[in-house]
């Protein structure tokens, strides 16, 4: 029971914001379709009102109150269900199901391209971008139309909410690891349910406030959503590139441009001597961001955590295929094979949000 309460509180505090940063784009995509639908209903009503005016009838109130809470709730309900099922599977299988770094990077890049494509569609750049919109199968639209006469669109928020299961944030991954550790299906399901339930209020409040404001600003807001989608999409692609250690990612380019950065993390670590390296994984990133190691010598990397609850706990070195879930407090030792001089080995959290590098010198 205690474990469930801790999972809920973790979701409520760090999980909500962390997941919003990673999965916010999918929520924006589903709401964007709902907003467009509201806008179309409004146009229909305006046409009807104009006709009524011409024929001398009393003009009805035009604006429909946008029902934005429902798609957000549907998105969150689908997400909750999908993660509960995932928790069940993780608990039952006890291991395996974690996505590896490359798969996750490909997914992030794909989701990013999907978001950018949707943004360009909303800007009406070219009809080809219409193919980025999720068009549900005909039998589903027919079913929705026949059964839900209120013409709300349920498919996109439900589908996209369930899709978040493929792009968990670092905190969620940490919770997934705990679900694996439970070794029991029902306990794994309960744990993920409690955690995702905890993340939901943050998701709902941020999304609802943003969308309420937007509905009043109508078309301008659609452009705003498109811009947000564009930015989130590019960030997602960037995270994917960072995750596979690509020098093309903006994060890594900035990293290369400003070699030494002031320390961000809180945990103080001993100085590295070139053979034994110390890296602090704090709540706001890795410190120091650039480590220097001796070339042609096996290196010992000690990653130190001290009450670390953020994404940085899911530590990844793409070049080595190394992936570690660090303890909340403690030291994880990783052996690095000898590297030639000039090698730059990048590391990051598993979603590519926090980064750093090890430079092998002569």
């Amino acid at each position: 029971m205690n474990q469930l309460i801790v999972a809920f509180i973790t979701g409520l505090t760090t999980g909500g914001l962390s997941c919003l940063a990673v999965q916010g784009g999918l929520l924006a995509s589903s709401l964007e379709q709902q907003l467009e639908h509201q806008l179309d209903l409004q146009i229909e009503q305006e046409i009807a009102a104009r006709r009524a005016h011409r024929s001398g009838k009393k003009r009805d109130r035009i604006l429909a109150h946008p029902r934005l809470a429902l798609p957000i709730l549907l998105f969150l309900a689908a997400k909750l269900t999908a993660y509960t099922v995932l928790g069940f599977l993780l608990g039952a299988l006890g291991s395996v199901l974690q996505l590896n770094t490359v798969t996750r990077a490909i997914l992030l890049i794909a989701v990013g391209i999907f978001m950018v494509g949707n943004a360009l569609r909303m800007f009406n750049v070219h009809p080809i971008f219409r193919y980025f919109a999720i068009e549900p199968p005909k039998f589903i639209t027919r079913y929705i139309r026949r059964t839900a006469k209120n013409e709300e669109s349920f498919f996109a928020p439900l589908f996209l909410g369930a899709l978040t299961v493929f792009i968990p944030c670092g905190v969620t991954q940490a919770m997934m690891a705990v679900a694996v550790g439970t070794g029991r299906a029902l306990q794994g399901a309960a744990l993920m349910f409690a955690f995702i339930l905890g993340t939901s209020p943050v998701f709902f409040v941020v999304a609802y406030l943003a969308m309420q404001l937007g509905a009043r600003l109508e078309k301008w807001f659609m452009r705003f959503v498109a811009v947000v989608l564009l930015v989130l999409g590019l960030l997602s692609v960037n995270s994917g590139l960072t995750l596979i250690g690509s020098p093309l990612s903006v994060t890594n380019m900035v990293q290369a441009a400003k070699a030494a950065q002031p320390d961000l993390a809180s945990a103080p670590v001993p100085l590295s001597d070139g053979v034994t390296l110390y890296l602090s994984a704090g709540n706001s990133g890795y410190s120091p961001r650039v480590l220097h190691a001796r070339a042609d010598t096996p290196i010992t990397l000690n990653v130190v955590t001290n009450r670390t609850y953020s994404c940085s706990r899911a530590f990844v070195i793409p070049a080595l295929g190394e992936e570690k879930l660090l303890p909340e407090s403690g030291t994880e030792t990783i052996s690095l094979p000898a590297q030639t001089a000039g090698t730059v080995m990048r590391f990051s959290c598993s979603m590519g949000m926090y980064t750093g590098e090890i430079i092998f010198d002569q």
Binding site: E36, D40, I47, P127, E135, T141, S153
Partner: protein, 70 residues
């Protein structure tokens, strides 16, 4: 029974395709409407004896869309 294809203007999202298809419920002579937001088209299967093309286009306009023979 005839099957005609139309280019539809005014669809902004996949929900619009669903909206376009709902003219099926408006006119009894229509057997089936299949609209695609991605292609910007709709295919209407209807009974010429019960409903005319003009009635179909008018029903569509009422919902905020314009259609032209493709």
């Amino acid at each position: 029974m005839v099957k005609e294809t139309y280019r539809v203007e005014g669809m902004h999202c996949p929900n619009c395709a669903m909206n376009v298809e709902s003219i099926e419920d408006d006119l009894p002579g229509i057997k089936q409407v299949s609209a695609s937001y991605q292609k910007g088209r709709m295919v209407v299967e209807f009974d010429e004896a019960k409903v005319s093309e003009a009635q179909i286009l008018a029903a569509l306009e009422k919902r905020g869309y314009q259609a032209f023979p493709a």
